[in-house]
Amino acid sequence: MFGDYSIGDLGSIFVMQGFAGLILFSVYVLMALGLAIIFGQMGVINMAHGEFMILGAYVTWMTSNLFQTYLPSLFSGYFFLAMILAFVASGALGMLVEWVLIRHLYKRPLDTLLATWGLSLMLQQAYRSVFGAREVGVELPQWMLGSLHVTESIEVPINGVFVMCLTVLITIAVAYVMYRSRWGRQVRAVVQNRIMAGAVGINTEKVDRYTFGLGCGIAGVAGSAFTMIGSTGPTSGQLYIVDTFLVVVFGGAASLLGTIASAFSISQTQSTLEFFLSGSMAKVLTLLAVVGILMLRPQGLFALKVRK
């Protein structure tokens, strides 16, 4: 499959596909960060995670429409407000869901899967009723269009660079919150031993609710980023949920670094293969490789050594 290209061409292809992969990587990382918190830390299998992401995407779309209609002069900056709104909307919905549904199921992780699947069906139908079944696309502001010419044969889209920077910032923020702040310490204490954490005076119910909300909120931001690379429909989230779970499991569920590494390797493999094979075969090969590696190394890439 490499035969038809010269070495220089191949280099450019790898760099450009690599960069296309980086946008996918950003969405994966943002989705997986939320899931790593919810699944890796809390042990809840949130099948509705994709729908939380799509909520963020719809919020972004609505914000962009609002700016276009009422504040066209500020349109170039709508994305920053949209991100914050997406975070708040998805996070609030997440906290509501935790309060209504998830808190009854902490002892039955497999059942959270079924219940959140039911939730995802209801959310999908809700999106379909509210926003219509057609996919919607967001118009990007002028400064995000176009691309940077690095060399003659390599060009890099600006929105990709932007999404990447965003991802890096959010990842650093999450890492800081989880591993350096007092609240993150409480979260990890609750995860390790809910009863003991309660006994030393941590309000475990509150910590659970905010943790779940944070995970869902990050999914909302992922939805904002998602609007830049694809159009949003009621069932778009479902397409990403399996990939995201694989990213989290492949990285080693409780490890933040592992999540990033696995999101990187999966998205890069897929996007590089996509250039040479059809899209579906690239996806099949990538997923097969991930499943194969997981069979050999079930604990994932970066497993924390935890005594069970």
């Binding site: 039911g118 579906s280 997981l294």
Partner: protein, 380 residues
């Protein structure tokens, strides 16, 4: 009807007779052929639900990839039927006569090698059992021998379902792509499409279903079934008692796969086509839901679950397509939150005690003894 009282206890016997009466007598007498064929379609999912009772309810292994095995069984059957429907006379207008129409559309000029053996019905029937069985064996061995279980297993089986769907859709020339294999006509020269054939196929399916119920009940009552339950409750203790936990899990998973495959093959026969929309993640999870609604611990409950949920799906999506997804979603949440043992749990809690009281007041005079086998599970 003479049934060993040790094989079914009294309530199970009642469940058995009720199901047999409904499926063998009442439905064929009251429904027209179109509706009966719909029931036949629902019952194909009952095979899957039955397998999930063994694997999930008893073994505690939640597989989100049962659609894979349903699909493998269905595609094996459909490949045989498709080959028969694409005889040289039937496909004269194609540029290459004698190969399935979708291959011709995709510029494939000769039958691929892996299609060749499906000219033989014997091979096809063996393949329906063996292909999914072996596939499950490979996945199961790889996972359970390394002590991967629970949520990880569920996610990986789900990924397998995703992979297979993408593969089938992508390899249009070999599999028929997103449309699947349509226009299946005859089985060894016997037309499967007219009404009387549908009725015969329905009865064949019900007989097969009862055979599978028998196998499942047998497994449940032997030591094997006890070990499965023990493993679900206290895996380490079973392991320390010297049993190979992995092998029992692999067995339960393979049985579930084979049941699902039989269901898939019957689906291809009864419905007359097979497509990737019955393989992927969504149908796989729906299959789990049938089991959950019916009762994951009850063989008969799961079958009723498959029939009732599908019936509700057909009638609701016919009249209120908007409401169906809301209803299904709410059903999942309600089952998980409020009735973890599903319909059979409700039956065991509310209806069964009344019936028992009725029997007890009558039988106490005759000195009747219940030699039912206690298995710690609510049985319908």
């Amino acid at each position: 009807m003479i049934i060993n009282s040790r094989f079914f206890n009294r309530s199970e016997l009642m469940g058995f007779i009720a199901l047999a009466a409904v499926l063998f007598v009442i439905l064929p007498l009251t429904l027209d052929v179109f509706r009966l064929n719909l029931v036949a379609k629902y019952l194909t999912y009952a095979f899957v639900a039955l397998g999930l009772v063994l694997c999930w309810g008893y073994g505690g292994i939640l597989s989100l990839g049962q659609g894979v095995f349903f699909g493998l069984g269905g595609y094996c059957m459909a490949m045989f039927l498709k080959l028969e429907a694409s005889s040289v006379e039937n496909t004269k207008i194609q540029s290459t006569p004698g190969i399935p129409d979708f291959m011709d559309w995709n510029q494939i000029t000769s039958l691929p090698l892996f299609w060749q053996p499906f000219h033989s019905l014997t091979f096809t029937i063996l393949a329906i059992i063996l292909v999914p069985g072996l596939f499950a064996l490979i996945i199961g061995t790889a996972m359970f021998k390394r002590r991967v279980g629970g949520t990880y297993f569920a996610i990986i089986t789900q990924a397998v379902a995703a992979i297979l769907t993408i593969l089938i859709v992508g390899q249009q020339g070999y599999t028929g792509g997103i449309n699947g294999m349509t226009d299946l006509r005859t089985l060894k020269g016997w037309d499967i499409r007219p009404d009387h054939a549908k009725v015969i196929l329905y009865f064949v399916e019900v007989v097969l279903l009862f055979a599978c119920i028998g196998i499942a009940q047998f497994i449940r009552l032997t030591k094997l079934g006890r070990i499965l339950v023990a493993m679900r409750e206290q895996e380490d203790r079973v392991r320390f008692s010297g049993y190979s936990v992995a092998n029992f899990k692999i067995f339960a998973f393979c049985m579930a796969a084979i049941f699902a495959a039989i269901g898939g093959a019957m689906f291809a026969l009864n419905v007359g086509f097979m497509s990737p929309s019955f393989v992927g993640i969504v149908p796989s999870i729906e299959m789990v839901i049938y089991t959950a609604v019916g009762g994951r611990m009850s063989i008969f409950g799961a079958i009723w679950g498959a029939i009732l949920v599908n019936f509700a799906k057909t009638s609701l999506s016919e009249s209120f397509p908007q409401l169906w997804l809301f209803g299904l979603g709410a059903l999942f949440i309600a089952v998980v939150l409020a009735f973890p043992n599903g319909l059979s749990g409700l039956w065991a809690d509310y209806v069964q005690p009344r019936i028992d009281r009725l029997f007890a007041s009558r039988k106490s005079k005759a000195g009747w003894k219940d030699n039912s086998v206690a298995d710690g599970a609510p049985a319908e």
